[in-house]
Every structure is written in structure tokens, then in C-alpha cells.
């Protein structure tokens, strides 16, 4: 009987260890998401030009990543997370293209008239409204130029420059070879320079 009790105790201790490991993994995941989520949102938003939808895509990507890839080595997390996100973005764009064809006459309300007190709060970075406006205009220009790129060029540029992934990491995130990443990135920079060069020099 003692043998059975000992087995049961060992089982409980193993369970405790598993809980500790789960908690540690949760903490690491939390730090990873905090680090990556804002840039991921902006990258998704630039790609699909809709913040609400971008927020949903980022959340979906986080859930998918947490469920399926949290056990992978930490060094692989960023490229894998962006691979999920990029797949979500492409799926969304495909769905949207079909939706646009079907619902030509349908117009969604933009909700621009709704007052949002949080959005209306003063800028914590201390920028003046003029500076903000100027930055927004330049950012709009950049976003427009990025949207004009092909999907793969845009992905390569944003992952390399905005997320700071290296060529190998970008290749994992894009699901292509490192050579393709270099080609897409080079063409993206060339196109951006042609579009923005005059205003940015």
C-alpha cells in the first residue's frame, strides 16, 4: 500500500513541477507579447489599413502562437509569431477582396463622429499639435508608399526595418528563402525611394 501512496505522491510532485513550468512559460510569453505587440499592431495596421481589424489579427496570432508554438525555443519566437501574423494578414486581404467584390454598394460606418476621451487625451510625449500633425502627414505618406509596394516587398521591408528581424528570421517569418528576402527588400527600398525620395531628402 505504501508503494501506491509513494507513486501517488510522486505523481502530485510531478504535477506541481508542471504547474511551475507552465507559470514560468506564461511569464516569458507575457514579456514576449508585451515587447512585440505594439509593433505587430502597427505592421498589421499598415498592411490592412484598419486598426480594429489589425487588433483582432494580432490577438488571433497571439492565441495561435500561445497554443501551438510556446514550447519552441525562445530564439524562434519572433519569426514564428510574425509568420502567423503575416498568414493572418494575407488571409484577411483575400477575404476582403472577395467581400469587396460581393458587397460593392455596402458602406461601413466609420464611427468618426464618436467622441473617444482616451484618444482625445493630451500627448504624453509632449509634442505640440503642429508637430503631431506634421508627423502624421509624413507617416501617412510612408504608409501610402508602403501600401503601394507588392505584398512580399512590404513584408520584407517592415519585418527587416520595423521589427528588426535579420535576413534569416525574416525568411522564416515570410516562409521563403533568404535570397528572396534580400531581393524583396532591395526592390522595396528602391520603390520607396522613387515614391518618397523627393519629399524626404
Amino acid at each position: 500500500m505504501n508503494a501506491y501512496a509513494a507513486t501517488f505522491t510522486v505523481s502530485c510532485k510531478a504535477e506541481d513541477r508542471r504547474e511551475v513550468v507552465t507559470l514560468q512559460r506564461e511569464a516569458r510569453l507575457n514579456r514576449f507579447f508585451v515587447d512585440v505587440e505594439k509593433r505587430a499592431l502597427r505592421i498589421a495596421e499598415i498592411s490592412i489599413r484598419d486598426r480594429d481589424e489589425a487588433l483582432d489579427l494580432v490577438q488571433d496570432a497571439m492565441i495561435k502562437f500561445a497554443c501551438n508554438y510556446a514550447g519552441r525555443p525562445d530564439a524562434e519566437w519572433t519569426p514564428l509569431f510574425y509568420r502567423i501574423l503575416q498568414n493572418r494578414i494575407r488571409d484577411w486581404q483575400r477575404r476582403q477582396a472577395v467581400k469587396n467584390k460581393v458587397m460593392v454598394f455596402f458602406e461601413r460606418g466609420t464611427g468618426e463622429d464618436d467622441y473617444d476621451p482616451i484618444a482625445a487625451a493630451p500627448d504624453t510625449a509632449g509634442r505640440s499639435p503642429d508637430q503631431e500633425l506634421q508627423n502624421e502627414e509624413v507617416m501617412e505618406g510612408l504608409q501610402g508608399a508602403l501600401v503601394a509596394l507588392s505584398g512580399r516587398q512590404r513584408e520584407a521591408f517592415m519585418l527587416r526595418m520595423f521589427e528588426g528581424l535579420n535576413v534569416a528570421g525574416t525568411a522564416v517569418a515570410m516562409g521563403c528563402s533568404e535570397g528572396s528576402v534580400k531581393t524583396h527588400y532591395s526592390r522595396a527600398v528602391h520603390s520607396l525611394r522613387e515614391t518618397l525620395g523627393e519629399h524626404w531628402q
Binding site: 494580432v58 497571439m62 497554443c67 507617416m139
Partner: protein, 126 residues
């Protein structure tokens, strides 16, 4: 314009794009940050929920294993409680022995021998 100038222009463009992007990231409003936080918590709850479900299965498995172990121990004790074989069975075993059967078949002969042994010798008569 030579190649060095091209590279310098490209670097300037990339740096400015990075700077703008970082500013837009840092300038995200509170509502957006709050939604990101909620999304993150939802993702993390999937991890803890999955682990909790796994632990529940482990716990249920442990309880089932303990129940099976108790059953095994209990049924083992039941076997030990079987009553001892009575002595009558031992007699039966002797009786059913092959030699004993022969004796039973020739019971008449053995009775005569036994009776003959009880008689006095002929020489002693008279």
C-alpha cells in the same frame, strides 16, 4: 550620382522610416493599448487553461489508478480468506489413490485373509 550617394540616400530613407514607425508605435493611444492588453491576456489564458485541463486529466488518472490499486489489494485479500481444506478431503485423496481402488475391488479377498489370520492353526486343534 555615384553608388555611395545611392547607399547614403537609401540609409537616410530607411532611418527616417524607422524613426516615424517608432514614433507611431510609441504614440498609440490608451484605448488601443488596453485592447492589446486584453488580447494578450486572452492568449495567455489559453496557455494556462490548456495546462489546467491537462492537470485535471492527470489528477483524474491518478485517482483512477489509486482506485484500481485498492481493488487489486482488496481482491488479493479475498483470495487469502478462502477456508482451509478439510481433513475429509485428505481421506478422500487416500481413498481415491490408485492402490486404494485395487484394495476396494478385492475387498472380499482381503476380508478372507483377515478372517483366516484370526483362525487358530490346525495343529493346535483337538
Amino acid at each position: 550620382m555615384n553608388e555611395r550617394d545611392d547607399v547614403a540616400i537609401d540609409d537616410a530613407l530607411v532611418n527616417k522610416a524607422q524613426q516615424l514607425f517608432d514614433e507611431s508605435v510609441n504614440g498609440l493611444d490608451g484605448a488601443t493599448r488596453s485592447r492589446l492588453n486584453r488580447g494578450r491576456q486572452a492568449a495567455l489564458s489559453e496557455v494556462s487553461g490548456g495546462a489546467r485541463r491537462f492537470n485535471q486529466w492527470i489528477r483524474a488518472g491518478g485517482v483512477a489508478a489509486a482506485a484500481i490499486a485498492l481493488m487489486v489489494v482488496w481482491s488479493g485479500n479475498q483470495e487469502l480468506d478462502i477456508p482451509q481444506v478439510p481433513e475429509v478431503a485428505t481421506d478422500m485423496e487416500i481413498l481415491l489413490d490408485e492402490d486404494s481402488l485395487e484394495m476396494i475391488e478385492d475387498l472380499e479377498f482381503y476380508s478372507w485373509i483377515d478372517l483366516d489370520g484370526d483362525l487358530e492353526p490346525v495343529s493346535n486343534v483337538g
